[in-house]
């Protein structure tokens, strides 16, 4: 349950809850996450809460990049769980920016294991402005 996939490097996490649940790796616009036992529920599948935390981290990271590092907060997240993922699975997502306005960013992402989508997410982010 170890290292980064080829060509990916670990991203520096700052939020205590993200440090607690990570690590997350990145290569260009794609993020990767390896499911460990402690991310799973008692049925041995990755917990929905862990997947939504991963969505918040990665879509938030993409907002940060797309806005040239403008702080933002999650306003809304809509999640659909299509298929279970298990310990050992590598989950990958390439977040997509659907629309950006002066105050908001609309994001979406398909989270995949081996090319198959396990979760789809849409989220709205409020930009807080730069100092």
């Amino acid at each position: 349950m170890s290292g980064a996939p080829q060509g990916f490097s670990e991203i520096k996490l700052i939020d205590p809850f993200e440090i607690h649940t990570g690590p997350v790796w990145r290569k260009d616009g794609t993020y990767a996450f390896r499911v460990a036992e402690h991310h799973c529920n008692m049925r041995g599948v990755v917990h929905g809460g862990m997947l939504m935390t991963l969505a918040d981290m990665t879509l938030g990271g993409a907002v940060w990049d797309a806005t040239d590092r403008e702080p933002s907060v999650t306003l809304n997240m809509q999640t659909q769980f299509l298929k279970p993922a298990k310990a050992g699975d590598l989950i990958e997502v390439t977040p997509e920016l659907t629309r950006r306005t002066r105050g908001f960013v609309f994001m979406r992402g398909d989270f995949k294991v081996g090319g198959e989508t396990v979760m789809t997410v849409q989220s709205v982010w409020k930009l807080l402005g730069k100092d």
Binding site: I14, D15, P16, F17, E18, H20, T21, E37, H38, H39, C40, N41, M42, R43, V46, H47, G48, G49, M50, M52, T53, L54, A55, D56, M57, P71, V73, T74, L75, N76, M77, Q78, T79, Q80, F81, P84
Partner: protein
């Protein structure tokens, strides 16, 4: 132990028996209020984001745990899985807050449970959630 845990409401029962539930928790079940199922956690340092508020991922985890548990209680099924979950982040939770969720069943069919929930810090709404669970 963190002092916030000492401020949990009376009758709080730890439901974080293992897995991610325990890793992210602890989470507690509170006594029902009529048909409303209630759960709580104390916001600890590990639950925070860099801005000093409770992380959205942890709030969604809390909702998923409470709403999944409510689906099982309503249906009597051993396990229920989340099909979809929609969360609106209404306001921030802070370190040391006792965060409570109140979950209601909108409709139950043979195979599905429709739920709504509101997350509070005291009287203040922190998150609205609604979702759909499949009875396994």
């Amino acid at each position: 132990m963190d002092t916030a845990l000492n401020r949990l409401p009376e009758g709080a029962e730890d439901i974080s028996t293992g897995g991610f539930n325990r890793f992210a928790g602890p989470f507690y079940r509170l006594p029902d209020e009529g048909a409303v199922r209630r759960f709580a956690f104390a916001a600890l340092e590990k639950h925070m984001n860099g801005a000093g508020t409770v992380h959205g991922g942890l709030l969604m985890t809390f909702a998923d745990i409470a709403m999944s548990r409510t689906s099982r209680l309503a249906s009597g099924a051993k396990s229920c899985s989340t099909v979809s979950l929609n969360c609106d982040f209404v306001g921030p939770g802070r370190l040391g807050d006792i965060v409570e969720i109140r979950v209601s069943v909108s409709r139950q069919t043979r195979t599905l449970v429709f739920l709504t929930a509101v997350v509070f810090c005291g009287e203040r709404v922190v998150m609205n959630a609604s979702g759909l669970w499949r009875i396994a």
